[in-house]
Amino acid sequence: MSRYKEDMQELFSKLNRDFHEIITNKPLLRASTEKFLNNLIDELTLGIIFDIHRTAKTKAFDLDDEIEELEIEKGVNIDVFSQYNIKKTQDCVCPYCDRAVAATRFATHLEKCMVKSRQKNVVRKVVINNSTKDNEGSYSGASDDQSDDDWSPGDKRRKKKKERNGKKRSKGNYRHYNEY
């Protein structure tokens, strides 16, 4: 027992001397710690490599997901919350003119577009009415009252209204051009 103790003490004193030598020798200490650190770093990299290789072998992750992650790192087309650029979905198609309009401008566009389409419809109706009236007039003179309606006082009001609308429309158009 005592011999064992003696052996241990001898061993430790040897180690102690050795260690002290390294510590006192500054360049040696520096070089050896650097090597030691490099070894540690290599060990850690090996750990990471084994880990990732295992996940790849066992197909714990889809490679496509990883590609997506890489894209996130690069910042391609994806925002912080890994959603694709929202701007793409912000276009609304106008039901009247079938144009793609930005969502923020859609309301104003729709208003103008509806007014325009209504005008067109009114013009069409007027044209159709006139043609039918002409036809009726050629067949019988019974449409005199209807043609007289054009000169009735009620129609003046209608014309005034129309003028007002026209002014408004021209204003709107002016604004519209200013925007662009």
């Binding site: 430790f12 180690l15 390294i22 520096r30 090597k35 030691f36 990299t45 084994f50 990732i52």
Partner: protein, 99 residues
């Protein structure tokens, strides 16, 4: 016996190995080195177009040289300094005091 294995032996004897590895590991994770190495690994995996997963040896050959270079110089210097400090402290406190 090489000098670095001597260092690790002395650290082992003085129960300092765990502390040192933990210190290095946390510092490397903090500076984002681990994520960088992971990314490099995944790139190496995806670069192989012939859908076979590369062997561990191939991965090691591809990634290890890069990984060493990825450690920021400032972090490396800091870690070296701290390691030296720990070693000097062990020497000062007395060798194998806890044994």
């Amino acid at each position: 016996m090489s000098s670095e294995s001597k260092i690790s032996l002395h650290l082992d004897v003085n129960n300092g190995m765990d502390r040192v590895t933990e210190l290095v590991q946390t510092r490397l994770i903090e500076c984002g080195w681990r994520d960088q190495v992971r990314l490099a690994c995944r790139k190496a995996l995806t670069e192989n177009n012939d859908k076979k997963v590369p062997t561990v040896d191939e991965l090691i050959a591809a990634v290890t040289p890069k990984a060493r270079g990825m450690v920021p110089d400032s972090v490396k210097k800091e870690l070296l300094h701290e390691l030296e400090l720990i070693l000097v402290n062990v020497d000062r406190a007395g060798y194998a005091k806890h044994f």
